[in-house]
């Protein structure tokens, strides 16, 4: 069989890259919206910041599970 393309190296890295796409977009949207809210209503900064960190924590967990999975399922 003629080989047209070949990938070398560890598939785990590719997997982690895929796992990071979603949370990356998610955190971007989340922080952007939170900043928009703060800019519109500076007096709500405290509540918005706390909730922003909460949202980041939940979103980021997905990327981190991707990282751990790379080490677990070798």
């Amino acid at each position: 069989m003629e080989l047209l393309a070949e990938i070398n190296g560890n598939l785990n890295a590719v997997g982690y890259g895929l796992a990071a796409i979603g949370p990356g977009i998610g955190i971007g949207v989340l922080v952007g919206k939170a900043l928009e809210g703060i800019a519109r209503q500076p007096e709500a900064t405290g509540v918005l910041r706390t909730n922003m960190f909460l949202g980041i924590a939940f979103t980021e967990a997905l990327a981190l599970i991707g990282l751990v999975a790379g080490f677990l399922f070798t």
Binding site: F53, L54, F58, A61
Partner: protein, 269 residues
Amino acid sequence: MLALMGPIAASGDGEGFEAPSISEFFPGGLLFEDTIFEMSRITLIGVLMAGLLSLFFVVAFRKNDRLIPRGAQNFGELAIDVVDKAVILEVMGQKGRKYAPYLISMFFLLLMFNITGVLPLMHISVTSVIGVPAMFAVIAWVVFNVEGVRALGIGKYLKVNLFPPGIPWPIYFLVTPIEFISTFILRPVTLTIRLLANMMAGHLLLVLFFSATSYFLLETSGLMKLFAIPSYAMGFAFTLFEILVAVLQAYIFTLLTAVYIDGAISAEH
């Protein structure tokens, strides 16, 4: 103290570049070897940092009848006040005061355990081995469940958590298992993994950049040596970033625990 030091350079013995691996987090035992009390350098760092933290607060508040705080007491009160305002009052309000001793001591313990990742001679976070964050998460799980049951009673607590109001009854076949898994299983698991993976990734990044610096500087020749400069700069930048991450992860762990307790003790969900 010297016993706590790890291998300074991962490469440098002429073997070529050696990328950091997961074995970084499983150093050999130093004390009480081959017993169940075996202590590695990570465990010893944890004991040391917990001791330092206790020592600081005992010294800071040994005379707490002074009206005007001075020196260490000033700093201690400021530190406690920050957590009190930024986490407890922000999330739970006045009724969260009851949990202040638990949340504040957890925050500072986590901060001390995280920050060892960038401290000289230690260079590894105590929280980057799974046992430590898992223990914190189990304690948080027990606290929010016990407090929820105490506030609402076991029947109402389960009803509030497993049967969210306002949806037609057949949907409960779908919703209740999801709510059960996300509330009682995934919460402690994500608490553990969030802290563990952040600290682990930070440590691996720092080892990668600094061992690459050492490799470029000592084992390559000619212009390749110049790559040591950007590598060292990245290592330095990520050291600063890791300090931020250490504080942020301690804050997020405490914040989420406060949110979980608050959600458990208030009836309307």
